[in-house]
């Protein structure tokens, strides 16, 4: 992880995470990312033919599931509200039939990133539940880095092929990161614009809206197949 990113993470913790809600929202996101990893590993197990590879992925998956639960537990214990987990839309990283080692390479690069990010976070956090959870998780993720690399070697890939694949995966993840950043910007613009729309439009329509909500029955025709027949 670059120095800039380390500074960013420390600033995040010391400034933004003073708000418990912001912190819990981020932890909920970690939970969702780990759970997403579990799901991809499950898909990998379904796709892998060699029972030994399946077993390795299975063992790995159990650890990731425990990590997702550890983050979820932090959310549950720190919040007065009932915990509502964040969900991502599931999407296969590779099309069905792609050799399993490509998924393992993708997982490996993810583990490297997660280890670095969670490690910095662990060091920056004050003592507490999240710090304790991260200690275990970072130790596990470090093990996963070696595990996935060794698995790729076991599957017959050469060091050169592996390094090439890692580079491709890093490029892909960087692109995905840019897309996420782009979405965040679009989201910010949309929130600003729609807030403007609200304050311009709502004064003219809120009375009509209130009147509509006072109606007790529904009269419009919704009792047939609509659209193309």
């Amino acid at each position: 992880m670059s120095m800039m990113e380390r500074i960013k993470v420390r600033a995040l913790v010391s400034v933004f995470w003073r708000s418990k809600q912001t912190m819990l929202s981020a932890v909920n996101g970690f939970q969702a990312t780990e759970a997403d990893g579990v799901w991809h590993l499950l898909r990998g197990i379904e796709g892998a033919e060699d029972p030994k590879v399946r077993a390795t992925l299975f063992e790995h998956m159990i650890e990731e599931e425990a990590h997702a639960e550890a983050f979820g537990l932090v959310c549950r214990e720190e919040s007065a509200q009932a915990f509502v987990p964040t969900f991502y839309e599931r999407e296969d990283i590779f099309p069905t039939g792609t050799p399993i080692w490509k998924l393992i390479a993708y997982v490996h690069v993810g583990e490297v990133d997660a280890t670095a990010r969670f490690g910095v976070l662990r060091d920056a956090l004050p003592p507490g539940r999240l710090k304790e959870a991260l200690k275990t998780i970072v130790a596990d993720e470090e093990g996963h880095i070696d595990l996935t690399h060794d698995l790729l070697l076991e599957l017959g890939a050469s060091e050169a092929e592996i390094r090439k694949t890692y580079r491709r995966v890093r490029l892909r993840r960087a692109w995905e990161g840019w897309l996420r950043s782009g979405k965040r910007i679009v989201n910010w613009v949309a929130v600003t614009l729609l807030s403007g729309v609200y304050f311009v439009m709502a004064p003219f329509f809120y009375r009509t809206a209130r009147a509509k909500l006072r109606q007790n029955t529904v009269e419009y025709d919704n009792n047939r197949l609509k659209g193309a027949q």
């Binding site: 399946r54 549950r76 304050f199 809120y206 809206a209 209130r210 509509k212 609509k226």
Partner: protein
């Protein structure tokens, strides 16, 4: 004709494929994504449905969406404008979500399925519930009651359904508009009680059995009955149009007292009904009992109106409130209806079934009885690859990842026994029944997973029904389940009436765990670990023609125990949907105190150290 029904966008996305009038496959997306109530586009459910049908999207003749996105959009925007100037966040988030994606759901369907838009149709949300309720019922004519949180605009809808010249006709009697909603009030009280709304309403219902309805008059005032059997909800107590402020208002807190914090201890236990209950816990239980009581009263009022309009003894029920098994039983006991049908998944997850069947029936000459379907409509998996994998898995590896409280040292080694498929069933069932008799906890994984949230013998956790210790172990070391939530049991049709206080003509209503009924006093001890504190249970009556393997297991256990009955609960860790794949089942076996896992014809057991 190939028809695909689809629901997604709010919660419980699902897909159903109907080919020539028969359901080929139907499932909720959550099972394939491991995200409970997953609302995302049901990519994987659709993919699997098409794969079972052996067709591609180009072979689809019609796709039916479960709601009218344009009407729903007007409701969402209207409700976010009404609280002006205090609803900016609500408006912005709603508008962003709807303008960004949900409003264009029909275009999304067309694009993601690469399908001619002319093949895409839709129905109103409550109409899709009505179709879901009526189409699988087998009734020639029926009243239809739909009660949930909110659909396009309505929250409650009353219909009549009838087959006329081989076509289903579903006509509206009346629809109650949002924000007057029984489902939303129940969800708001669920939030008030510290549980997760839109998920844990069953917990509120469970809590109700510990209380007395001393706050019922408060709720009768809040949900006012009208002379025509309908109701209105006093909005001063709720934020249905502005839920970022919280589901309920200070006015409700003034009426009922302080709300319960999520995660605060609640000292109620189904397995120990005589335990002392604190005053505060009793208040929460009484509030739950009160909302449950008034919900039932208002539903009975709706049933009266519906019976007068429909002039039939048959009733179909759907919508989220149809998961309330206590209210369902009260309808059967106290309304004028004598015959009841509730589909296996009466919530949004089941709307794809109804819409697909309705569209297929509109196009063909299907008979009502030909459309009856069971609950085992999900995906099935080969167990062999998992069993091969197990040979390479080291159970001691999981010791660090056991669920809290489980003795890791117990997870040393696993033993796999395979039973030959020819005569394997009797051998397997005998072996499993012996284990159950010894108080062991069994994960039972067979065939296609169930449609709907109930474990009906294909993804079930099983235990001896009279064994408190087994039930406690199941709650604390396997399911992480609150002690105030009761277990239920499965019983064969042959033994159902010996245990349950139900008439013979109602036994079939209990196939899918949708009604709470009293257990005969003389049989209570035999099923004491699967009873609620009021001595009721939500049974599954298993018929051999519905699920022969599970029926055989129940019978094998019955030979040893005296009655063919087993404590049965859903095979899922807390917070997850029912397991779908054998690997998911194995994870739960590995990390919890489950003693036995049955995958198809194989039995995996933990070899405990001496």
């Amino acid at each position: 004709m190939n028809v695909l029904g689809i629901s997604y966008g709010y919660h419980d996305a699902s897909a159903t494929l109907v080919v020539d009038g028969q359901i080929v496959a139907a499932m909720a997306e959550e099972r394939l994504t491991r995200q409970k109530h997953d609302a995302h586009f049901p990519t994987y459910a659709i993919r699997h449905c098409l794969s079972v049908g052996g067709i591609g999207t180009e072979d689809l003749d019609k796709v039916v969406f479960h709601e009218d996105p344009h009407t729903k959009f007007t409701r969402v925007i209207t409700s976010s404008l009404a609280p002006f100037p205090h609803s900016r966040r609500e408006f912005v988030n709603s508008a962003k979500s709807w303008l960004g994606e949900k409003l264009w759901a029909l275009n999304t369907l067309s694009a993601r399925l690469d399908l001619d838009p002319a093949k895409i149709t839709y129905v109103g949300h409550h109409f899709s519930h009505a179709a879901q309720a009526f189409m699988g019922s087998g009734f020639e004519r029926s009243a239809i009651l739909i009660v949930d949180a909110v659909g396009d605009w309505s929250s409650t809808a009353l219909y009549t359904g009838e087959w006329v010249d081989g076509r289903p006709q579903i006509e509206r009697v009346t629809e109650i508009a949002f924000p007057h909603s029984l489902g939303l009030v129940y969800s708001a009280i669920t939030a008030y009680l510290g549980f997760r709304p839109n998920d844990s309403e069953a917990t509120t219902m469970a809590l109700a059995a510990f209380g007395t309805p001393r706050f019922a008059d408060v709720f009768r005032e809040i949900i006012e009955a009208k002379p025509d059997g309908t109701y209105t909800v006093d909005q001063r107590y709720f934020n249905f149009a502005n839920f970022y402020k919280g589901a309920y208002t200070e006015a409700l807190v003034e009426k009922l007292g302080p709300a319960r914090e999520s995660g605060a201890p609640l000292g109620l236990d189904c397995l120990d009904p005589d335990a002392a209950i604190s005053e505060e816990d009793q208040r929460f239980a009484d509030i739950a009992a009160s909302i449950q009581c008034v919900l039932e009263e208002r539903i009975l009022g709706l049933c009266g109106t519906l019976h007068t309009a429909a002039q039939t003894e048959n009733l179909c029920i759907a919508g989220g409130v149809a998961f309330n098994c206590v209210a369902n039983q009260r309808i059967l006991d106290e309304s004028a209806f004598s015959s009841l049908y509730i589909p296996p998944d009466p919530g949004d997850g089941g709307t794809s079934v109804g819409t697909a069947l309705f569209a297929a029936a509109q196009a063909g000459d299907l008979t009502p009885s030909g459309l009856c379907h069971g609950a085992y409509l999900g995906k099935s998996y080969e167990e062999a690859p998992t069993l091969e994998m197990i040979e390479h898995v080291n159970p001691t590896h999981f010791r660090r990842y056991m669920k809290v409280g489980v003795d890791a040292a117990q997870n040393n080694n696993w033993k796999v026994e395979r039973f030959e498929p020819e005569d394997g069933l009797s051998g397997l069932c005998a072996a499993v029944a012996d284990r159950l008799m010894q108080g062991e906890l069994v994960g039972w994984f067979q065939g296609n997973f169930e449609m709907g949230p109930r474990a009906l013998g294909n993804r079930s956790l099983l235990a001896r029904p009279d064994d408190f210790d087994a039930a406690r172990r199941l709650s604390t070391l396997v399911k992480n389940r609150a002690p105030y939530r009761p277990y239920a049991f499965s019983v064969t049709d042959g033994d159902a009436q010996a245990l349950l206080d139900i008439p013979a003509d109602q036994v079939r209503f209990h196939r899918w765990m949708q009604l709470a009924v009293p257990v005969r006093p003389e049989a209570a001890k035999m099923v004491q670990a699967a009873l609620h504190v009021d001595q009721t249970t939500r049974p599954q009556v298993c018929f051999a023609e519905d699920n022969p393997r599970y029926h055989a297991l129940l019978s094998a256990f019955g030979e040893r125990f005296g009655k063919a009955v087993l404590l049965n609960t859903s095979f899922n860790p807390s917070g997850y949907p029912l397991v779908a794949t054998p690997e998911e089942a194995l994870v739960m076996f590995a990390r919890t105190d489950l003693d036995v896992l049955v995958l198809g014809d194989a039995m995996i057991t933990k070899v405990r150290p001496d």
